[in-house]
């Protein structure tokens, strides 16, 4: 097993509420090896998204440390974190997140621009490959308004992939899709880990998708639940 690309140590996160401090995360330790498709599961309010945002550096933990590819996020400045997100991470969000004024191709290409990669023939080839991977090789020139929700989400996945990040974070990417499309999307993630060696961390509460995962991390009430067998949940 290769070295962990994501490692957290005692992550705690508290929010101030009128009733006092609310602990959304109560000390999470995880280790995710490179190139795995990992599902972060749990009910609504279990702390999935909070944990994900702490790992991808959008949020800071109240206590604890996050190591991405061996680097402690605490040691990075805001700029360095932004750079990390641009170059080493890819994002897929629950709702429509494509830039409306760009077509599918440009949306995907944009992540490469953000990562500071050269825009040339090679990059165009890469964009095409990514779109083909998500099954949209024939819709490259369509605007997002001209595509269905599932298609848009697949473009978003291609975008998250195009600049060859180390990790893709996908927060409930299937929530707005029907089950067939959700399964298709999950398949694509799985395939990405195989073909490109990218680590995918996806949150979902859809039980039907768990089968595709290499690893499942389950949260409940801010705590990690360790089960005996990873796929035994029913």
């Amino acid at each position: 097993m290769s070295e962990a690309i994501i490692r957290t140590k005692g992550i705690k996160r508290a929010f101030d509420t009128p009733a006092g401090k609310f602990w959304a995360l109560k000390g999470i330790d995880i280790e995710i090896p490179e190139g795995k498709f990992v599902i972060l599961r749990g009910r609504s309010g279990s702390g999935k998204t909070t944990l994900m945002n702490i790992i991808n550096s959008l949020d800071d933990p109240t206590e604890g440390d996050v190591f991405i590819e061996g680097t402690n996020l605490k040691d990075l400045t805001e700029r360095e974190r932004e750079n990390l997100r641009r170059t080493r991470m890819g994002f897929v969000f629950q709702s429509v997140s494509l830039i409306p004024s760009l077509n599918a191709f440009q949306n995907v290409e944009f992540s490469m621009r953000m990562a500071g990669q050269k825009i040339n023939k090679e990059s165009a080839k890469r964009v095409e490959d990514c779109l083909k991977l998500v099954g949209l090789g024939n819709r490259m020139n369509h605007m997002s308004a001209e595509m269905s929700g599932g298609e848009q989400q697949r473009v978003a996945i291609a975008r998250a992939l195009a600049h060859r990040p180390g990790i893709i974070f996908a927060d409930e990417p299937t929530a707005e899709l029907d089950s067939a499309m959700a399964a298709r999307v999950t398949e694509i993630f799985k395939e990405m880990t195989r073909r490109e060696g990218i680590t995918v961390l996806m949150t979902t509460h859809d039980v039907g998708l768990m089968g595709a995962a290499d690893m499942i991390i389950e949260l409940d009430n801010g705590e990690r639940i360790i089960r005996d067998t990873e796929n035994a949940d029913a």
């Binding site: 990390l84 997100r85 004024s101 760009l102 944009f110 929530a175």
Partner: protein, 929 residues
């Protein structure tokens, strides 16, 4: 329903506040129009009356009824008198004074005193009501209350002229030979007093007592009881002096109508004389129509902008509420219910808007009345603004427009259900104007207008001079040109952006990339606000230039025509011989007193005669003006713009100075009369004295000289004729003709006030026959309702549009940020720095805002250069002498740019503030809900 409406409005409070602002401004602007006009017209009407007083030295509003009768059997006189008293009520104007003047025909009298001419003496008996209050007694006393003395003789007073020309004595009794009383007794009169006529400001004496040579005034009550009846032939005049200061502009139409009725249709029409004030009111009416039309034409684009602002904001608000509407609709609410909800909302905003807008309109009207220049006010000087019926009619109309502007977009939106909403959003449309090539059509039409007007430029000023108003088409062409050019810019703007992108794409970062793409793909969404911005700026520039040009030209023209700060001429008595006949030589008033004017920089003597002439044949006289002056003193005091003559002004004065008997002639002596330099010209002064001079040079312009004179014929057409000028040396004229009455031209110190001069004239007890005061004339020129109204409307229009533009621009951008909050969140999550998003927005602002500003400036400059000369011509006055100059003051433009810059910077700051308040994770969450 009401609760839902208020709830809904509270949710979109900023939008609704902007709508409310729009309503208030639209109503205020509309209402300010009749308010300002009423106040300005009141002032203008009083000016007309005052002009009449100074020109005719008479009360400006009088109606005279006169009747002759041999035997007044039916008491006609009594009836007319009663009728005259009732005219005030009919006209609806208060009474200043009613004067009844009874006059009996002259009859021979015999004096109790023996004298040579007793046989021929004839006197008239007359009476004027109120005489004792207005006449000044020189000797004796007034007639008593019962009008007869103890012996039964009628007491009379006579004017000085009557006394001297008839050789009457105070206390003398005279008996009429034929005139008898009702009882058949002979009538005897007794001269008890001598009176003199009016002080200058008293308009009581419609017949000057100094011109009455044989009239004896008796007690009017007594006169009426003795002579109005069957026994005597008399003439009666009743004068109704109306209280003209109380007459307002709104009464003019009714006054005209009643006057027409009285003079043409009433039972007493035969005794009513056509009153003079009709021509005053006619002249006023011509001016009023011209001003009303002009101001209306100027105001319409502003109102259109305001209405489109309301349409834009309400459209945008409904756009935001589309989801709600479609959800409500899908849940079974009828379209009518939704529409009703919006109509209630519109009503609420309109009524609230009116409550604030109407008083604000009064303030606007006051500001209009205090406008000194474009974006320049003098608040010390304000109009007396009062509400009238018209105000509320205009307010009602404005409220209807606001209600419609707010509700119409709702009709479209109430149709939408959630299904077709999603369909609609996917459709990308070209705007209708783009498909119809409206921009090209508008430019074409306006250019056609431009060329046809340019061809007939001369005609424009002539039409205007004959009292007609600004041709609406002319102004419309300029507005159409601006709209057309604005739209055309919007058509090409995406290509410009694309071109810039193609050139710079190698250097453009991800932020710039998105801005470019946003603009190229979604630019159409911004067209309305961009057009708004372009129009505000180009109209602003155009209007600034129009206002500045019209005003500066009027001011420099006034400056030129007056010639000096003060010109005054004293009364010059003529010397008489022992018999009292004039000798033709004038007595020169003492001029040493002028040296004590400590408020003046300098003064000089100028001989000025505008009734001089040259002769060609015996009966062929050509009128010319002759000026004789000290070249050095005159040249130091007066000034003339360099570009008016071929050479500099002082060059001509120097040329004249070199030749002792030299004359400078106006150019038309050369072009029309065929004279040449070196010729000798003979000319005559107004009183026929001849002299000659050697022609030194010809000038096109000279201080106070107008090369042509335009008069308006009775048929209403303007006619222009040549005006000639001869300038010679003061010393040469004196040498040739002796001392002639001259004027004093005075250059005042900068801090001097006109009162200084008045005080001086009073303290020196001077009798002044001509008085020109440039600063007062200037004030009069600049507060001319047409000029001031134009300036005011243009300034207010600009202020209103720039305010709306700022609000509209801000709303557009806030909405655009709100709409894209999710995308910003996504970008931030993907590693975009805040600064990059700011950079992105600024780049977008440059493409929309800055481009529009630049386009607005360009279009404004072009429109000014093309249309201002024509518009200016439509403000021509018969006094306009100097050639028109297109004037743009840098300070006006800087002020304009400054305001625009403040607006745009405010927008950017608000946007950045909003952006920094935005929380990334929150923004992302927003999207999830």
């Amino acid at each position: 329903m009401l609760r839902i409406m208020l709830q809904k409005m509270w949710q979109k409070k900023w939008m609704n506040l902007s709508l409310l602002l729009g309503c208030i401004l639209l109503i205020a602007t509309t209402v300010s129009f009749p308010l300002y006009q009423k106040a300005a017209y009141d002032r203008m009407l009083q000016d007309e009356f005052n002009n009449y007083i100074s020109e005719h030295s008479n009360w400006p509003m009088i109606m005279q009824l006169s009747a002759n009768c041999q035997k007044d059997k039916k008491d006609t006189i009594g009836k007319i008198e009663k009728y005259a008293a009732g005219i005030y009520d009919q006209m609806g104007i208060g009474e200043y004074e009613t004067v009844s003047y009874y006059h009996m025909f002259r009859g021979p009298v015999v004096s109790e005193i023996k004298r040579d001419d007793a046989e021929d003496m004839a006197l008239s008996l007359a009476a004027i009501t109120g005489l004792t209050e207005h006449a000044r007694l020189i000797a004796g006393e007034f007639y008593s209350d019962d009008g007869v003395d103890d012996d039964g003789a009628i007491e009379v007073i006579v004017s000085q002229n009557t006394l001297t020309s008839k050789g009457l004595l105070l206390g003398e009794c005279l008996t009429y030979k034929m005139l008898k009383s009702a009882e058949g007794d002979p009538i005897t009169i007794k001269v008890v007093g001598v009176y003199t006529g009016r002080r200058t400001e008293d308009f009581f004496f419609q017949d000057d007592p100094e011109r009455m040579f044989d009239i004896c005034m008796m007690n009017p009550d007594l006169f009426r009881s003795m002579f109005t009846g069957e026994n005597s032939a008399l003439e009666v005049n009743f004068y109704d002096l109306f209280d003209y200061p109380s007459v307002g502009a709104s009464q003019v139409a009714e006054i005209n109508e009643v006057t027409r009725y009285l003079c043409e249709e009433s039972p007493y029409k035969s005794v009513i004389k056509d009153p003079d004030y009709q021509s005053i009111l006619e002249e006023y009416e011509i001016k009023r129509v011209r001003i009303t039309t002009t101001l209306m034409i100027l105001q319409i684009p502003v109102l259109v902008l305001l209405a489109s602002f309301l349409l834009m904001i309400s459209g945008q608000m409904y756009e935001m509420e589309r989801n709600e509407i479609s959800v409500i609709k899908s849940r079974g609410s009828s379209r009518g219910q939704i529409l009703l909800l919006y109509i209630y909302q519109g009503l609420f905003l309109t009524i609230t808007g009116a409550c604030a807008g109407i008083p604000l309109g009064a303030l606007f009207a006051r500001i209009l009345g205090s406008t000194r220049n474009f974006l320049e006010f003098n608040l010390n000087q304000s109009l007396n603004v009062t509400y009238n019926r018209e105000t509320f009619i205009y307010a009602g109309a404005a409220m209807l427009i606001t209600l419609l502007s707010i509700s119409i977009p709702a009709i479209k939106h109430s149709k939408v259900s959630i299904v077709n909403l999603k369909q609609q959003r996917a459709i990308k449309k070209r705007s209708l104007w783009e498909i119809l090539f409206l921009d090209v059509i508008l430019i074409g039409v306006s250019l056609y207008g431009f060329y046809s007007f340019r061809k007939s430029l001369g005609d424009i000023s002539e039409t205007v001079l004959s009292g007609k108003s600004l041709d609406p088409l002319l102004y419309v062409s300029s507005s159409l040109f601006i709209v057309g050019m604005g739209l055309f810019f919007l058509r090409i703007q995406p290509y410009i952006v694309r071109l810039i992108y193609l050139i710079s794409r190698k250097f453009v970062g991800p932020a710039g990339y998105i801005s470019f793409m946003e603009n190229i793909k979604n630019g159409r969404k911004m067209q309305l606000i961009m057009l708004f911005l372009i129009m505000t700026i180009s109209l602003g520039m155009f209007h600034a230039t129009v206002a500045r040009t019209i005003l500066e030209n009027a001011a420099s023209n006034r400056d030129y025509l007056d010639g000096a700060d003060i010109i005054l001429k004293e009364y010059w008595p003529m010397m008489t011989d022992q018999n009292g006949t004039p000798t033709g030589t004038y007595v020169e008033p003492d001029t040493t007193k002028y040296m004590t004017m400590d408020f003046a920089d300098s003064y000089t003597k100028v001989y000025y005669d505008d009734k001089a002439y040259i002769r060609k044949g015996k009966n062929d006289r050509t009128i010319t003006t002759v000026m004789a002056l000290h070249t050095k003193e005159f040249g130091e005091m007066t000034h003339l713009s360099q570009d008016l003559n071929e050479e500099s002004y002082h060059h001509y004065l120097n040329e004249l100075a070199k030749v002792e008997n030299g004359v400078l002639l106006s150019r038309n002596f050369e072009t029309v009369q065929g004279m040449a330099v070196g010729d000798t010209i003979s000319f005559y002064t107004g009183d026929g004295k001849s002299m000659s001079g050697k022609i030194v040079d010809f000038v096109d312009y000279f201080p106070s000289y107008s090369p042509t004179v335009t008069v308006i014929n009775p048929d209403g057409n303007a006619e222009t004729s040549q005006n000639y000028l001869i300038v010679t040396h003061f010393a040469y004229l004196k040498k040739s003709l002796g001392v002639q009455p001259y004027e004093i031209w005075i250059d005042m110190k900068d801090d001097a006030s006109p009162d200084d001069m008045y005080d001086f004239i009073e303290s020196k007890n001077m009798r002044v026959t001509k008085y020109v005061n440039k600063s007062e004339d200037m004030e009069h020129t600049l507060t001319d309702p047409l000029l001031q109204g134009t300036n005011g409307v243009l300034t207010m229009g600009f202020a209103v549009t720039i305010l709306l533009c700022a609000v509209g621009y801000l709303i557009y951008w806030i909405m655009s940020i709100r709409e894209r909050e999710l995308i910003f969140g996504v970008l931030r999550a993907c590693g975009f720095h805040k600064n990059e998003i700011v950079k992105m927005l600024i780049t977008e602002q440059i493409f929309s805002g800055l481009f529009s500003v630049l386009a607005g400036i360009g279009i404004g400059k072009l429109t000014s250069a093309m249309f201002v000369p024509m518009l200016q011509a439509s403000y021509a006055t018969s006094e306009q002498v100097l050639p028109m100059k297109l004037i743009t003051k840098a300070s006006d433009l800087y002020r304009l740019y400054g305001i625009v810059a403040v607006v745009m910077l405010t927008c950017i700051f608000v946007l950045i503030f909003l952006l920094f308040r935005m929380n990334v994770t929150k923004a992302l969450k927003l999207g999830e809900e």
